[in-house]
Symmetry: C2
Subunit: 344 residues, 2 copies
């Protein structure tokens, strides 16, 4: 097929008249569901881009912003979504939420994207997109903003991942710890760059302080308190366990604290623990952490989107500062800590 795909091509493939194809793509009433589905499938297969006129929607006229999220029940995502929702509500915009599911659902979502202009802009919340997904996003021709992850292709609101991890590890180093464990969390749905940046900062900080990195002290687990609990068990099983642990998130750190308590060890008396986030349950657990403002990141992403729609200049990278919060889960190592009970 040569030349750009047009409505007639879609109609022919779907076996309907161009007028019916136009109504189906415009989401008009009185089009049978099955006909609509056939037309949309044809449009998708041909990678037909519904023009604003055909869909009855000019640029910026749906009044809706779409946000794509991998998770809704985790604190960071919920808080960032709340910040975004508040800014958009104040601007009178509606918010469409798409939760990515398993890999097949995720693929279907991005494959369906170009055919429908359902929103005036898209916010990617807390995950990175691959090359294929980026090409699909480009085809819808609306503004895109990334929140929580720095993505070169789009204006991004994020934290300094290396800086945040460095704040945590430097705190442990300043307290006098030398054997510092790290619990890395991996999530196949999220961009691996975030854990990579945090891990790189750990290595840098140790080397800069003149200590070597012992690979046995680095444990990779799935995200969540269970992952943290298991990782701490693994670290306690070492012949020479760490005197302090840096976990990539507070939920994971709290799982590690649970394992220490069950093992009869004291925090920070026997082992210091620090996380990242300042989750609302970090304070009652007295967990030291590096606070990041999830609500603020979502709100700033909302402002970037509104600026883009208004034709105002949009900052390419907005870095939201993080802050070391010292509570009582971190303290200097005890003298003679090699004799940790249960250490071998």
């Amino acid at each position: 097929m040569s030349g750009p795909v047009n409505l007639a091509d879609v109609a022919r493939r779907a076996g309907v008249s161009p007028a019916t194809a136009s109504r189906a793509l415009g989401d008009h009433p009185h089009v049978a569901v099955r006909t609509r589905e056939r037309v949309w499938r044809a449009a998708r297969e041909l990678e037909y881009v519904v023009s604003p006129e055909a869909s009855g929607l000019a640029r910026g006229t749906t009044g809706r912003i779409a946000v794509v999220v991998p998770h809704l029940s985790r604190w960071w995502f919920g808080a960032a979504l709340e910040g975004l929702a508040d800014v958009l509500r104040a601007a009178g915009m509606d918010l469409l939420v798409y939760r990515l599911g398993d890999p097949a659902a995720r693929r279907a979502f991005f494959d369906d994207l170009p055919a429908r202009r359902r929103a005036d802009a898209v916010v990617l919340l807390g995950f990175g997109v691959d090359g294929h997904e980026r090409r699909r996003l480009e085809r819808i021709g609306v503004g895109i903003v990334s929140a929580g992850v720095r993505t070169a292709a789009y204006p991004s609101v994020c934290i300094d991942e290396r800086g945040a991890a460095r704040q945590a590890v430097d705190h442990l180093l300043h307290l006098g710890h030398r054997r510092i464990g790290m619990i890395v969390t991996l999530d196949p749905e999220l961009d691996p760059e975030q854990p990579e940046q945090r891990s790189a900062a750990y290595t840098d900080a140790l080397l800069r302080a003149g200590y070597e990195v012992d690979p046995a002290l680095v444990v990779e687990v799935a995200w969540g308190a269970d992952g943290g609990a298991g990782a701490m068990g693994q670290l306690l099983g070492l012949a020479d366990p760490p005197t302090a642990v840096f976990a990539h998130s507070d939920e994971v750190a709290l799982g590690a604290v649970g394992t220490l308590r069950r093992a009869g060890l004291r925090v920070p008396g026997d082992v210091s623990v620090i996380g990242i986030d300042d989750h609302p349950l970090a304070a009652p657990a007295d967990l030291s952490t590096v606070a990041q403002q999830a609500h603020e990141q979502g709100a700033l992403a909302g402002r970037s989107v509104l600026a883009e729609l208004a034709g105002d200049p949009v900052e390419r990278v907005v870095t939201v500062p993080t802050r070391l919060v010292i509570r009582s889960s971190t303290a200097p190592p005890r003298a003679g800590r090699a004799e940790l009970p249960g250490a071998g």
Copy 2:
């Protein structure tokens, strides 16, 4: 004005032609933003209901479900929203999320509702509506489902609030506790019926066991870990403090545990604590609780909505079972507990 309000009335009030009013209400492109706003304001003031023809949307043809939520960053709401989003995605429906804001924003939201048919159905997530709000919801003429709160006016997916609280209090009674404190959480944005039901179950359980209810043992606080921390401090200040505490939610219970730890008291050695929810961070904190399935409640609400749209029968009340989860924050009271350190 007599007779139903029609499009000409709206046009006259807005000072535009009926054709322009129709295009503005239909969200057509090429209508100036200010004109659109003037027309919508007139429609709102006259309580004009946009007909499916005028708005270009027949019943069931937007392909969108609207969910209204008071919070997005709290666990229950995020998990329930995730369950709802997953069911709707599988059905190919889009999800519009409206977060209620302060009272003024909430009022504006419900006042705007009837004028726009933006979704085929509405899910109320975790809050109750008052009479005014119910009348506004009725005017949009779409199906409504309530999740997390039992609302007589709508099909509801919920837990047995009294039953859940009874499971928690009965567990403490069975362990031999007599002086059982309760931390009630109040949220002005949420339906007071939920805390009322949980409190009533506490009173019933104590009276049934033959104990009297000491009003000094019941503390009302704002939701969250801070509220729980403060409430526990208040209970510890009593001349005869409780040997066990039932908190209306896990986050509040974990705040109470933090206060006990800082006071040098042991859980459950000095005071037992139990919550409701089975929050993901209850397990690593070894908190006993009554588990409710938030994700499942959202998913079932999604199924009720889809059934209603398909014209299938919808159950009026779906009660999702709760389950007592005994961890190590609850144990029998110590002998001689009247001599609690710090008890005055």
